[in-house]
Symmetry: C2
């Protein structure tokens, strides 16, 4: 089966590497002007005029990137089977639609307000802080990822400046919540509605960019795993979703979870599954969208994913660390750019954390990991 | 690093799929006129005129196929680093040179004779049968694999017919040995001479073609593993080998091993390492040839590789079997053709063997596996 991918970055390339063994071949459609996928065919076209050429090459279409023009995706869906569907993309592109869906499905989130002016932003900030929030974060309801298009406010007086800096007509303002750790759950829904779940991962972000993901968590109770599964299951069913969906959550001191945001695709916090689970998120996404049975999401061993950001580090020394797996994206060094990742596996969590520290020391500018094991 | 591969079949494609995450890109040089690798660049050229074009695209060269014109390989080695080297290829192309090396290194083999006529073949057959062999197998000293270019003789009177059928000027005649099972060991030697070994696999052949490989073996003593390691270690050092080498052996009723033949490349009996070992044979071959540290050869779980031969079977049903991993080669169905393989992993050997039988039943014309667990 020939699979078309909207987006042509490292996620697309890793999908393709997983799809070759399933007999798939790939074409990528890039709308950013800077494709990096270097396998199969890539059509780079910021205006959409090559869309027919792309569609003629493929049997079905998926996406690896959610910041796509919605009109383009709707056009694709009229011509070819598209998984996940247009509605999933629409909701995930818009924080207002996303939060509305969370509310409809009774998935708990941090307290929030929607605002359309600097005055409303100041008012929202005042209300949320009066209710106990130590600060708020304002985000444009569209676009923005990896911490872009956002501002933190610790005082309503910062509203004018934050409004100007973000520069969007509508913002969501969320109360800062006190959390012990950031976690994510990745789930896969097939064409018959069957759903499988990976174990939760703990995610360490630095400057808004993911640095480390650890899974499975040695101290996570079944109840918390099941809570996360129930939330993402409701989202998958509501969106009649097919493929991999990621839900990022905050775990609070009492063990409970608050939903943060979701991504309608394979996700950086699921890269550990390439070497740490029986079937990876990439393979399971491909199995789902082409109507094949889903593979096992069971973890093989404690695993930690470490992003390589900005510069490559000492690749040979990293490969010399027992149980290390390198995944490079074929990109050149640039500050803040994701160049690849390392998956470390070990027989037990203590050995794993030792190896993580070993590898972190080989990556320039990588802060050591700060995992927060909590008793649920 | 840009890697050139002589040969463009499934082994080359699987090397490339393992090499992308290491940052490698690939060009293939095909001398057979029927390349199947469908990743990177392929130059198909049975006369060798495109060799310069191929060499200009790559930093170093390896091979995935040993039946290459030796002159071509020598020419490559003059232009680029070639791993494994020309000498390894020369020895592995010629059964007389291979057996001579085994003898020099005191690696035990079945009794054999070299013959250059039908009369000599009859004489060799008489001698070997008088010494106790129930039958002999005659093989051309060059070419021939998967049971091609061979004949079994149970009587010296069959010599004329066998000689004519094989049609080569020089043959090796080997005594049939009584063995309990066929096994293989795969080892990797790096540029500094460090060597790592995978656990032995048991191989089931049907009509001369590999059907099943099982590893690690639940009943194999450390002593036998070490015996196999010592044999292949001597071969690797003697050939100043860099990369993956495979040695096929017979295990006799008393547990001891006799060498059968070797292959200077990644090998079908090592495909289980893709899903059953920490680092696969493909990744370790690439690490070795580009001077990177070798990855762990440790098995993750009991694993069985099942070849898909001739027809595809029910792919969806195969993927529904817990712990199954599909690896297709992008080839169309044809009798006797290797179309792909399935790696099955399980937490224990009994569960694994149940799943193997489940999958075997889904492959048309696949005989059930016949593994022979022996007490060493």
């Amino acid at each position: 089966m020939r699979i078309g991918v909207l987006g042509a970055g490292q996620l697309g390339q890793m999908l393709a590497l997983s799809g070759y063994p399933l007999g798939n071949r790939f074409a990528f459609f890039d709308t950013t002007g800077s494709p990096s996928a270097d396998i199969g065919t890539t059509l780079s076209d910021t205006s959409g005029v090559k869309l027919d050429e792309f569609l003629a090459q493929v049997d079905l279409v998926t996406y690896e990137f959610e910041h796509l023009p919605l009109a383009l995706v709707q056009q694709v869906a009229q011509e070819k089977a598209l998984y996940p569907g247009v509605e999933a993309l629409r909701v995930c592109q818009n924080r207002e639609a996303e939060k509305t869906l969370f509310d409809q499905l009774s998935i708990p989130v941090a307290d929030y307000r929607l605002v359309s002016s600097a005055d409303e932003l100041a008012q929202a900030c005042t209300e949320l802080m009066r209710a106990g929030a130590p600060a708020v974060v304002a985000k444009s309801i569209t676009e923005g990822y990896d911490g872009k298009g956002q501002a933190v406010l610790r005082d309503p007086e910062q509203a004018e400046e934050a409004w100007a800096q973000i520069g969007h007509a509508r913002l969501i303002v969320e109360a800062f919540v006190s959390f012990v750790r950031e976690v994510s759950i990745i789930a896969v829904r097939d064409q018959q509605g069957e759903v499988v779940f990976y174990p939760l991962a703990e995610n360490n972000h630095v400057d808004g960019i993911l640095r480390y993901s650890l899974a499975p968590l040695p101290d996570l109770s079944d109840a918390v795993q099941q809570q996360a599964e129930s939330y993402i299951h409701k989202l998958l069913d509501a969106l009649e979703y097919v493929g991999v969906l990621t839900l990022e959550l905050f775990q609070q001191a009492d063990g409970t979870l608050l939903a943060n945001e979701m991504a309608p695709r394979v996700h950086n916090s699921g890269h550990w599954t390439q070497d740490g689970a029986i079937s990876s998120q990439f393979e399971n996404h491909l199995r789902a969208i082409q109507g094949l049975p889903l593979g096992s999401t069971q973890a093989i061993a404690p695993t930690c994913m470490i992003n390589i950001i900005g510069c490559m580090g000492d690749v040979a020394a990293i490969l010399a660390v027992e149980g290390s797996h390198l995944h490079l994206y074929g990109k050149s060094e640039r500050a803040g750019r994701k160049l690849g990742h390392i998956n470390l596996v070990a027989a037990d969590i203590d050995t794993l954390l030792q190896r993580v520290n070993q590898v972190a020391a080989l990556l320039p500018d990588a802060p050591p990991p700060a995992f927060s094991f909590v008793a649920d």
